[in-house]
């Protein structure tokens, strides 16, 4: 296995199971409260927050318009600093490049900082299959790696896992430790993970990180973390590999600084993450630390094909997770139900571009279009509009379920013929109103079981407003 198994076509079944899981529901309750309150507070504390969102959007929009120029400039700067840039068209190419670097370095173990691109390309599975052991060093990623899972949230990958489950996992895997040790507190779990990982940091031959920004002006990669694991991953091993997708490019340090001001506030409600680390090339003579080799694997994997299309806006995404933190559907079902790597509203837009709308088609449909995601997106990505574009593409390609299509067409037939519509609706509502007059509602209705399975169907009042209005006009 080289990549996460795609279960997006089973979205409804996934969601059903998720809604029946009390631990997951409890975890989602925490997301619903904590992330939202903290972001709201952070935004309220910064008077220029909304203006910064505009600036951040404009920086990325500008960058995407000139992406080729900035990518070339970035590559030049990385090379000047003594680093290597590798271009990867797709997941396979990226995996092979990383494996090749590992083999040349004679690596048996690689440490990894948190990277969604690594999840997207299935890097861990690929390395394992080729005799290289990857070790995730972000606590959440470490936990889900032990559990063999995909992340359920893009910044809090193990948000679905509760403390007791972490303890059970640590006891299962860390068998060399005292079985009687006390792991009842989160701090003891953290300490144990730290102890385990410390040895891995020292033993690793290659360190792999993602990047929150790639700065064209300087050839610098930037990571933001809260645990410091990213720094140890990229400084201690002899070789540092950065894997990032094309749209991480930002023109200048100043631009990155502006976007950083909305990133952590939108994500966790922090003003800044605990660590913001800038890496430019390998260790220079006289540097106290740093890797001997510095590689950047630049992944396309469908991004360039999004440029110039209605999905280009999605390339502004900085992976803060605010959209899913504020999504009522995500709160109801959690991240795994989406069936692949990227959940929530950003996943609903991005996933179909990466795995195909045939497999990911449920995702952009499973939204109420409440618009809360767009209202908090620091990059002002019109997420509902982009989901709607997927629905349009599905409709054009006749991927929309036949019953839905038929219902729409029938509705549209009447809605474009007002006289016929008035006649038909008068009869229909008169009948329904008569049938429902006793109780005022229906517990079940033919053709409306999708509604009445979960809620009563209120009965209509019986006449239509248009009929009543016409009567008033005649009486006048």
């Amino acid at each position: 296995m080289t990549a996460h198994v795609i279960t997006s076509p089973r979205f409804k079944e996934n969601a059903h199971e998720a809604m029946l899981s009390p631990p997951l529901q409890k975890a989602m309750g925490n997301v619903e409260r904590n992330f939202i309150e903290r972001r709201a507070q952070a935004a309220a504390n910064l008077p220029e927050f909304e203006a910064l969102r505009d600036a951040a959007r404009d920086i990325k929009t500008h960058t995407l318009k000139h992406l080729d120029l900035y990518l070339e400039a970035y590559e030049r700067k990385v090379t000047e600093a003594g680093g290597h840039v590798h271009w990867a068209a797709d997941a396979d190419a990226a995996n092979k490049i990383v494996l090749d670097i590992c083999r040349k370095a004679g690596a048996r173990t690689v440490t990894k900082g948190k990277s969604m691109i690594s999840e997207e390309i299935g890097l861990n599975g690929f390395l394992e299959a080729n005799g290289v052991t990857p070790v995730e060093t972000d606590l959440g990623e470490y936990i889900i790696q032990l559990r063999g899972e995909a992340p359920s949230h893009i910044i809090a990958p193990a948000v679905h896992v509760n403390k007791e489950e972490v303890e059970a996992e640590f006891r299962r895997v860390h068998t060399h430790l005292d079985p009687k040790r006390d792991l009842s507190e989160p701090t003891s779990l953290l300490a144990e993970a730290r102890g385990e990982l410390r040895q891995k940091f020292l033993a690793a031959d290659v360190g792999i990180t993602g990047a929150n920004f790639l700065i064209a002006e300087t050839g610098t990669s930037v990571i933001v973390t809260n645990e410091g694991n990213g720094d140890l991953t990229q400084i201690l091993p002899r070789v540092h590999v950065v894997i990032a997708s094309l749209e991480k490019i930002t023109p200048t340090l100043e631009d990155a600084s502006q976007i950083l001001r909305v990133l952590a506030r939108s994500a966790t409600g922090q003003e800044m993450s605990v660590y913001t680390t800038f890496s430019t090339g390998p260790r220079r003579p006289g540097d106290p630390d740093g890797p001997e080799e510095y590689h950047v694997v630049l992944l396309d994997n469908g991004r360039s094909a999004m440029l110039g299309t209605e999905f280009e806006d999605m390339l502004r995404c900085i992976r803060c997770g605010a959209c899913m933190n504020h999504c009522p559907v995500y709160h109801a079902i959690g991240g795994h139900a989406y069936g692949w790597v990227y959940p929530g509203p950003m996943g609903a837009v991005l996933t179909p571009t990466l795995i195909g709308v045939e497999k990911g088609g449920h995702l952009p449909n499973a939204s109420t279009f409440c618009g809360r995601c767009e209202s908090v997106c620091p990059m002002r990505i019109p997420l509902p509009k982009l989901m709607r574009h997927w629905r349009e593409r599905e409709f054009e390609r006749h991927l929309t379920p036949p019953t839905a299509r038929w219902s729409l067409k029938t509705w549209a037939f009447f809605a474009t013929r007002p006289r016929l519509y008035r006649l038909a609706t008068r009869v229909a509502m008169g009948t329904l109103g008569m049938l429902g007059r006793g109780s005022g509602r229906f517990r079940s209705l033919p053709l409306a079981s999708g509604w009445t399975k979960y809620r009563d169907m209120p009965a209509p009042q019986g006449s239509t407003f248009q009929a009543e209005w016409a009567k008033r006009r005649r009486a006048a």
């Binding site: 009522p328 559907v329 349009e392 809605a415």
Partner: protein, 263 residues
């Protein structure tokens, strides 16, 4: 009775749900507009704003329906709908729907510019600051998503409700969170919709109000349907009914006087 206002000529876009389900809301809108001095007309050639087709990816049918709306409504001073969702469709989405159509685009934009949701039209355009109505009881208000986020409707209904005699307004926890309706979403993903609306009804109970109000009939049918299924005694109404003093008939999903309580 003929329209009597001396103010602007307002075309009521009654919306398909109000037309078919709850004419009372349409009459409440007419009363509120006429009380504010408008001449209200109801163009006969109206059906639906096209949103179900638009949000289902059926752009061709959405356009065909929208063209009918534009033709029927463009001759008036204002277009007003007792719904943030339908007004939002015309105001925020018609422009995009016709952006590549040089013939329809200016007409769509012109219609968008003069289309408003009922309550915000009363307060923001007509400057209405109080209504002449009485309603005894405690009410709470749910912010429907389109009205809130596309049209900025939040303070307006609460401001007018505060002027209703005898009414006490309670905060609804998470009032800005979606009720799970989402148009066709509520049947396509019924189980998820149910989970979301169940959180809403729990919050309604926490509010302690005896009446739940909102400005969109879709959300109201969803919330009323769930409350009634759960056996809740909370009454559910469109905010216009209360503002117009027309909340004396059966609430949404309630039996008419003398009817049975369960089918």
């Amino acid at each position: 009775m003929t329209p009597t206002g001396t103010g602007p000529r307002v075309a009521l876009f009654v919306t398909c749900l109000v037309d078919l389900y709850r004419p009372t809301v349409g009459w409440a809108a007419v009363k509120l507009l006429e009380d504010a001095g408008c001449t209200v007309e109801v163009p006969a050639a109206q059906t639906c704003c096209g949103q179900p087709a638009y949000n289902s990816g059926d752009k061709a049918d959405a356009k065909a329906i929208a063209e009918g709306v534009i033709r029927a409504f463009e001759g008036y001073d204002f277009v007003v709908a007792p719904s943030g969702s339908c007004a939002g469709m015309i105001k925020a989405h018609y422009g995009e729907l016709f952006q590549d159509d040089p013939n329809w685009s200016p007409r769509a934009d012109a219609l968008s510019a003069k289309t408003f949701e009922l309550v915000s039209f009363l307060t923001d355009v007509l400057g209405v600051s109080a209504v002449d109505a009485r309603h005894s009881g405690t009410v709470t208000y749910h912010d429907s998503c389109s009205g809130l986020r596309e049209l900025g409707i939040k303070a307006q209904p609460r401001a007018l409700l505060a002027t209703v005699d005898g009414l006490s307004l309670r905060d609804l926890p998470d009032a800005e969170v979606c009720c799970g309706f989402g148009g066709t979403f509520c049947v396509k993903y019924g189980e998820i919709s149910d989970k979301i609306v169940s959180k809403k009804t729990a919050n309604v109970a926490l509010s302690g109000a005896d009446t739940l109000l909102a400005g969109d009939l879709g959300c109201l049918l969803n919330m009323a349907g769930k409350l009634k299924r759960q056996g809740s005694a909370v009454e559910v109404r469109h905010v216009a009914e209360v503002l117009a003093g027309m909340a004396d008939g059966p609430a949404i999903g309630e039996a008419r006087k003398g009817g049975k309580t369960v089918a």
